[in-house]
Amino acid sequence: MAKNKIRRIDMLIFTIIGYIVLGCISILCLIPFLLTVSGSFTDDSSLFEYGYRLIPQEFSLEAYKLIFQAPEVIAKAYGVTIVLVFTGTLLGLFFISMTSYVLHRKDFKYRNKFSFFFFFTTLFSGGLVPWYLVMIGLGMKNNYLALLLPHLFSVFHIIIMRTFFTSIPESIGESAKLDGAGDFTIFARLYLPMSIPALSTIGLFIALTYWNDWYPAMLFITNPDMMPLQYHLYKVFNSMQAAQIVAQKTGIPVAQMPAETFKMAMTVIVTGPVILVYPFIQKYFVKGMTVGAVKG
């Protein structure tokens, strides 16, 4: 009886403190984003006049109009990005977890040597130019692979995944081995289903990387039909800035463009879908998922 009471009190204190702390952090994170959303719907010049506000001082859709001035281009760009994110995430997850599985196996003698072989590439890099030459040599100009390959493997993800695998009891693999299962079968049939929280985490990271990246597109894609969303936005923003610089140099009047609010509209457009999808991924962050799968 007494024990129960104590536990309830400690849980109460913990809950109160927890909600206050998380609530404060959430507000700190939410407000700048709301300011961004509001800013994106504000008239560019009133933004300078009144500063950032939670409710737009002068409502305006200029920034979005600029982005959606060619809806079919945006639709195509979305298409490219969505296919890229899905393919990249699935392939990446498969390859990364397979690699991690091997590296986590304690009975694999060379696991540290290979880990080092991979990790070394995060410390030293030959720079952009030789990498570019390799990519070009492989025929990556205007090739979807140019968008896919750069993030297929990430050493950080491999090592994080390896850490997750080590928390799965070794006995599970060993007993399967006695039943005659091969290494790949153990990995695919046993380890993968047991690692849903870990896979969701790494999957989320890979997906975000693909979602956010425009750099390879800038280097390798010149065909407008193949451009991913982020690169398209980046280009619109860039050409707008360029137009303003040119206007200042030459004095030729250009329509005033909402540079400041455009950046914010870009943020909103890029963040929106992720925030809609994220709660579905959170579903997999549930305690006991791993071991539950083992029992079942």
Partner: protein, 308 residues
């Protein structure tokens, strides 16, 4: 003779495991090790028509601008201190947030909070930079408008170098709190719930459970995450520093890191691959030495925690 034999036996024994490694090994050979030869440009005077390999050697000349600037030590120190603060504070906040999320009840509000925490990750530093100036600028910033409204005297944040360390670390934490805590949250989800159940039977309270079950079992993940970041300890987060501080040299003693310095020094110069490569090599080499020694140390204590 003995070595090859053991490799052969290992190959035979774990044929499948080797096969499973092939994609990754090939990938890193092609996209990382093959271009890595380009490092030598750090010792060359780059000429376009001759390419990296044909360009003439210049020895250590490309390193001179950095090490003769008289600021190499300050920059190295600043970069390391900032990164240490990022690693330590980032870890503490992210682990804390992950534990709170894992223990609290209330699904919907938790999901909403978790989503909010991820939002800063998407706001680029350029936009953050505009916000920061909007808040802190002396004449019309929201902070001073507030202070004046309360009848207090305005503060000159940009004229006060000592607080910038905290501002920068603060924004770093803010930006990555949601993203970074995901790994720890997933790790907590992997902990066997039976451990908690038996602790409950023993009458442990929530704080004891966190201290004696969650934290010890998170140790591997925490150490690995720290090690992963230590390799880049000499690399600055250029965008963040540049957008938050701008060219405000009054703050440089506190805020200048290697990457911002290199940008300032090379910005006006012609396109040269050599000098940036030289500084990059310095950053890599120091990171390499630190991580290899740290890894060796950890291996001695407990091989399970080592990176390689």
């Amino acid at each position: 003779m003995h070595r090859t034999n053991s490799l052969l036996t290992e190959l035979k024994k774990n044929k499948m495991l080797f096969l499973m490694l092939i994609p990754a090994v090939l990938y890193f050979i092609i996209f990382s090790y093959l271009p890595m030869g380009g490092i030598i440009v750090a010792f060359k005077y780059f000429e376009f028509d001759k390419g990296i390999f044909g360009s003439p050697w210049v020895g250590f000349k490309n390193f001179a601008f950095f090490f003769q600037s008289g600021q190499a030590w300050l920059l190295t120190k600043n970069t390391i201190l900032y990164n240490l603060a990022f690693i330590a504070a980032g870890m503490a906040v992210q682990v804390g947030v992950a534990i709170l999320f894992s223990e609290l009840k209330g699904r919907h509000i938790k999901k909403m909070m978790q989503s909010s925490l991820l939002l800063p990750y998407f706001i680029s530093w350029v936009v953050v930079g505009s916000f920061v100036f909007g808040i802190f600028n002396y004449e019309f910033g929201s902070l001073n408008t507030l202070l004046k409204g309360w009848g207090m005297s305005p503060v000159d944040v940009y004229g006060n170098p000592s607080i910038w360390f905290f501002i920068i670390v603060g924004f770093y934490l803010w930006k990555l709190v949601g993203y970074g805590s995901i790994v720890y949250l997933a790790a907590i989800m992997g902990i066997n719930p039976e451990l908690y159940e038996s602790a409950d039977l023993d009458g442990a309270n929530i704080f004891q459970k966190i201290r004696h079950i969650t934290l010890p079992l998170l140790k591997t993940t925490i150490i690995i995450m720290i090690l992963l970041q230590v390799g880049g300890i000499l690399r600055g987060n250029f965008d963040m520093f540049y957008q938050l501080v701008g060219n405000n040299s009054l703050l440089f003693n506190q805020t200048d890191v290697i990457d911002t310095f290199v940008f300032r020094a090379l910005n006006q110069q012609g396109l040269d691959l050599g000098m940036p490569a030289a500084v990059g090599l310095y950053q890599s080499a120091v990171g390499f030495i630190i991580i290899v020694s740290l890894n060796a140390l950890i291996k001695k204590i407990n091989p399970d925690y080592a990176l390689f």
